[in-house]
Symmetry: C2
């Protein structure tokens, strides 16, 4: 069984790493926040001094980090992973970052004989805890095949999407579709309220047919209860819409839904909603409408 090094013991990374230990993988981590890592160490995870040190003693190095810059720093900065890997090592980057830079990182790691998979996830904190994440994987197919048991320890729907970068690209398609559905749910509920309809009744009627979506079914009730706690925060949704926007800038064609949802999440950040769940998008309008 592969020895796994895990970097990024955060809201998502910690339950993912915990599931790996539970499934019997030998895990090491880089300690940054001892209080967050205590339970993993109690379960048997060892601690390395640096990403470089971790890479030297691991077959597979998993990253679950907040953004492109942090991934680059951890891979190629001082004491970075790239200086510890050997021939046959594998880096799996499960962060959601730029597809173009992913391809570049994979090329740089290849010069050290190290293969890389991009494997961003969907399903949020709950999916991470329950081991039911969706995982969209790009990179060499034989490396994917070898890593499948690792993915199966953390996720349910595991999709091989193609060469390096394709996992990130698929994730951004997913985020575009999800954000557009979220806008539909939010605008539908706003319209129901503005029209004096009973919003709960409208939600039930609309959820039962061709207008149904995960966003409407799962976030609609939270909106009606005034529950804006994050499953997935506006800050992270905005981060993904920014990655999408940057990626689209280099592409042919007109993507009006992407433009609209980017602009709205940008506004939501400026309105101070960053720490609300993405259903808090409705508060871009609601507070004003209610005070009118």
């Amino acid at each position: 069984m592969e020895k796994i090094g895990f970097i990024g013991i955060g809201v998502m990374g910690k339950p993912m790493a915990t599931n790996l230990v539970r499934k019997g993988f030998q895990l090491s981590i880089v300690s940054r926040h001892p209080e967050k890592e205590a339970s993993l160490i109690e379960m048997g995870a060892s601690v390395a001094a640096s990403p470089q040190g971790l890479a030297g003693t691991s077959d597979v190095i998993i990253l679950m980090l907040p953004d492109t810059k942090t991934v680059e720093q951890v891979l190629f900065g001082d004491d970075g992973v790239a200086f510890g890997v050997g021939t046959g090592s594998i880096v799996i980057d499960m962060s959601t970052i730029s597809p173009e830079e992913t391809i570049e990182f994979a090329e740089r790691l290849a010069t050290a004989g190290c293969a890389m998979l991009d494997a961003p996830v969907s399903g949020g904190e709950r999916g991470a805890e329950q081991g039911t994440l969706g995982i969209m994987v790009g990179g060499p197919q034989d490396v994917f095949d070898r890593c499948r048991p690792i993915f199966e320890a953390m996720g349910k729907t595991i999709t091989y999407t193609g060469l390096s970068g394709c996992g990130q690209k698929t994730k951004l398609v997913n985020q575009l579709v999800g954000a557009t559905n979220l806008l539909g749910a939010v605008e539908g509920l706003r319209l129901a309220r503005a029209a004096g309809l009973d919003a709960q009744t409208t939600l039930q009627a609309v959820s039962s047919g061709a207008a149904s979506s995960w966003m409407l079914t799962n976030l609609g009730p939270k909106i009606l209860q005034g529950d804006f706690a994050p499953g997935f925060s506006i800050r992270l949704q905005h981060k993904d819409m920014t990655l999408l926007k940057e990626w689209l800038a280099g592409m042919e064609g007109d993507f009006p839904a992407a433009g609209l949802v980017y602009a709205l999440f940008h506004k939501a950040m400026a309105a101070g909603l960053s720490n609300q769940g993405n259903q808090g998008l409705i508060n871009l309008w609601e507070s004003r409408e209610r005070s009118e």
Copy 2:
């Protein structure tokens, strides 16, 4: 059991009327297209000479007509329903028309002692055939209660939404949410293709999580197969988006998704796509992108 008069034996109306006869309701129709009506007459439906005549011999008059103008004509034009109804008669308008004019029609019918329900449907031709329509009903609650067995003969999810016009308003909320989800599905698949991803794989990955929707699951595969036959046509979707736009014009607040989907379906009409299914929205871009 109520004697029912049914006006509008079209793509939707015919299977709806057929289900009423099957459930034992005594049905009469106004003959306009004898070849379309033959099977109903064989099953025992009788034929009235005019909407007025039909109204005179029916307890409940159901309308399933293409637009607001046609409903007004059938109700209040020469030989219209309004001249045949008596005290205690009920008109059920199952067409999708203007909410404001619905309220006005109900008031005009009330002066003749006739109650009116607005009861637009979702679920398309297939839902009409299988008797599984979603039905959103507005009007007096006691009239709704009395008509429930009629709705149950044609639909599955039957929702009482409030006073006169609320059924139409709920339907337009439904159409806004559905059209926005459709745009998300279309733009996601366009992006997958533009990025060189395998569209089928992307569809599967995106359909499994928080970005899932009825539109993606049901129309995504049709798009990938190049099947643009209508379940629900672009012409009808555009008609509903126009009703939505006209309704929103009188309302406070900014509804950006509604504005965008209206503009796109307007473009799709101008591009000659009116008879395609609404998944043909993608052809606004695809033909150009593919020839580039």
